[in-house]
């Protein structure tokens, strides 16, 4: 039983990171119909910004700050201006393919210009285990869970309670009506990209101490984020959290109790079942469509 609880908690911690990655993914989709196949690489990269800054003998906190600024500027602003804007009018697919190329570009660049090896990454949390009611949990997992949930709730608050957040929602739901009502739609889309750039830096900061910083880190993570986003509901921030946590737990449990060989199959089976029987996700609402 204690094993089971440990597995669930570890799964929740992984799931929280999936959720963080998935939320940004969902945000981009909602505001601009961007399917970002490079989302996993977006999480991989900020850790290397921070490592590069530390190579200049900067303290960890300054490196983190630089990592966040660069991540928001490059993965948020530059990504939107250089790649998304010119292609936005031409439908979903060309842009999706371009982000696939972008993911190759980011991976290969890190491999060539930084290192092909896994680099150790300092942790925010102490590297000791927490013993609670006979259950062993690492502080890193606790930190991941707490920070991810805090980020998610902060975002949820921002979207629902602030004027800017509500403008963003309006722009996502009906750009034309929002524009008529005076919402600066273009700018809200840009904000979504900036938020994504920041969220991936948070995820990178949490995930890199656990898996070490490596150029291939994004591959499984990106895929997991898609699955989490779809299972939870592609058009709901809350859905991405539920999807992420569920996926993390299911993944961990199926690896332990079912089959390690077919570990990757369980999330995919979950994905197919959800799409076929509840296409809008567990928490999603139906998307209206025009004829």
């Amino acid at each position: 039983m204690a094993d089971f609880v440990t597995l669930v908690v570890a799964g929740l911690a992984t799931g929280a990171l999936y959720a963080l990655t998935a939320i940004g993914f969902t945000l981009l989709w909602q505001t601009s119909q961007t399917i970002n196949f490079a989302q996993g690489e977006f999480v991989m990269l900020p850790a290397f910004f921070m490592l590069a800054a530390m190579n200049f003998h900067l303290p960890f906190w300054a490196a983190i700050a630089i990592g966040f600024v660069l991540s928001t500027a490059i993965l948020g602003f530059a990504f939107k201006k250089l790649l998304v804007d010119p292609m936005l009018r031409h439908g979903v697919l060309p842009l999706a393919i371009a982000t696939m190329a972008l993911s190759t570009f980011l991976k290969e660049s890190v491999k060539t210009f930084y290192s092909a090896e896994a680099s150790p990454f300092p942790s925010l949390a102490p590297d000791v285990d927490l013993h609670l009611f006979g259950v062993t949990i690492s502080w890193q997992n606790v930190a991941a869970l707490v920070v991810a949930l805090a980020a998610v709730f902060a975002l949820q608050y921002f979207l629902n309670q602030t004027l800017l957040g509500r403008q963003m929602q309006a722009a996502a739901q009906n750009p034309t009506a929002a524009r008529i009502l005076g919402v600066p739609v273009e700018r809200t889309i840009l904000y979504a990209f900036l938020i994504n750039g920041t969220l991936v830096a948070v995820a990178s900061l949490l995930i890199s101490p656990v898996y070490l910083a490596k150029f291939t880190n994004g591959e499984t993570l990106g895929l997991a984020a898609f699955v989490a986003a779809i299972v939870g509901g592609f058009n709901q921030i809350r859905g991405a959290i539920v999807g992420g946590l569920l996926l993390g737990v299911v993944d961990n449990l199926s690896a332990a109790y079912l089959s390690t060989q077919y570990r990757g199959a369980i999330p995919m089976a979950l994905l197919i079942v959800v799409i076929l029987f509840k296409p809008d996700g567990l928490l999603g609402r139906a998307e209206e469509r025009t004829v």
Binding site: L82, V92, A269, I275
Partner: protein
């Protein structure tokens, strides 16, 4: 330019391309011939995906899995002493049937949801290739896939096998061209442009969606059957999700919905990285940059650039003709 002159230019271009494809391998080394053969094989798979995606508008990230199914069918049967033609028949039937079944989700969901269902299918197929040791040889794969003899002529020499691939490519392309120009092709287009209007006009959308998947997948299987003897070794990583992504890229970069798109797209995906090899460690970085730059410049792909050029010339010629006509009318009136 008259219609006759245009056909003449088209035929001339085709003849040049054909001469190039037939003659250049004579001057190439083994590796060059191998790369050209790979281009021919991948083009077949991309033609299939272009039917499903470019013409019928159904997004699929599973084409790589069908190439895998075809390749494994060929490898398993031929290493057990069956002729390749038997493997071909089995692979085509199998891919048609699985492709048909994969079309069912498309009846319920569309666009990105469909992309993710097919992506999940790809991942599951990869896991089966990797884990079912008794059938697929697991991670080691199946080695020593023999090349077939055609009318008693062995295709073991690389050049002969290349010509064989090229011949099959021509057959597949002609078949696809026939399909696109038939009422079926028009039904596919109707499906892509507006499924609801197509249905209200009496197009059996359900059947055409399933057929679009089944036919596209069958061409993927055909490519796989050719791939196995070409490489000789069939192992799981070759058919991971990356292949499906690559095939999708070929279709989009070449020009989705244009008949010539997959040929050009496969060139970009198969030949361009080889040409960039002189850059050594930087070649993939530059390759990815080029693909992004191309898509930013022309989201409708490489054939889209040519198409825009032709259309612009035609409108210019037409407006010039109109101006001349109205000028002559005015002159007569005055």
């Amino acid at each position: 330019m008259s219609a006759k002159a245009q056909t003449l230019i088209g035929l001339l271009g085709l003849a040049i391309v054909a001469a190039f494809l037939i003659l250049t391998p004579l001057t190439l080394h083994r590796y060059g011939i191998y790369i050209l053969s790979e281009w021919a094989v991948m083009t077949i798979a991309a033609i299939g995906l272009n039917l499903t995606l470019g013409y019928a508008g159904q997004v699929s990230l599973a084409q790589g899995a069908f190439v895998g199914i075809g390749a494994y069918a060929a490898a398993i049967l031929t290493t057990h002493g069956w002729p390749l033609i038997a493997a071909l028949a089995l692979a085509l039937v199998l891919c048609f049937a699985i492709g048909w079944l994969l079309g069912y989700p498309a009846l319920r969901v569309q666009h990105h949801y469909l992309a993710f269902v097919t992506l999940a299918f790809s991942t599951l197929a990869f896991l089966v290739f990797r884990n079912e040791f008794w059938l697929t040889g697991g991670t080691e794969g199946i080695d020593g896939v023999p090349r077939p003899s055609i009318f008693g002529l062995s295709t073991t020499p690389d050049l002969r096998y290349y010509y064989f691939c090229l011949f099959v490519l021509v057959l597949a392309a002609l078949g696809a061209l026939g399909l696109v120009r038939s009422p079926w092709g028009r039904a596919f287009l109707a499906l892509r442009e507006n499924p609801i209007r197509a249905m209200s006009l009496g197009v059996d959308t359900r059947r055409y969606i399933l057929m679009a998947f089944a036919i596209g997948s069958t061409l993927g299987g055909l490519a796989g059957v050719l791939y196995a003897p070409l490489v000789g070794l069939v192992e799981p990583p070759a058919f991971a999700l990356t292949l499906s992504f690559d095939l999708l890229m070929m279709v989009i970069v070449g020009g989705s919905g244009y008949f010539a798109g997959p040929f050009v797209g496969a060139m970009v995906a198969v030949l361009l990285p080889e040409w960039l090899r002189f850059l050594e460690t930087y070649y993939l970085i530059l390759y990815a940059l080029l693909v992004m730059a191309l898509l930013i410049y022309s989201p409708t792909g490489l054939v889209g650039i040519v198409d825009r050029f032709v259309v612009r010339r035609r409108t210019k010629a037409a407006s010039a003709a109109r101006a001349a006509l109205s000028a002559s009318i005015e002159r007569r009136a005055s």
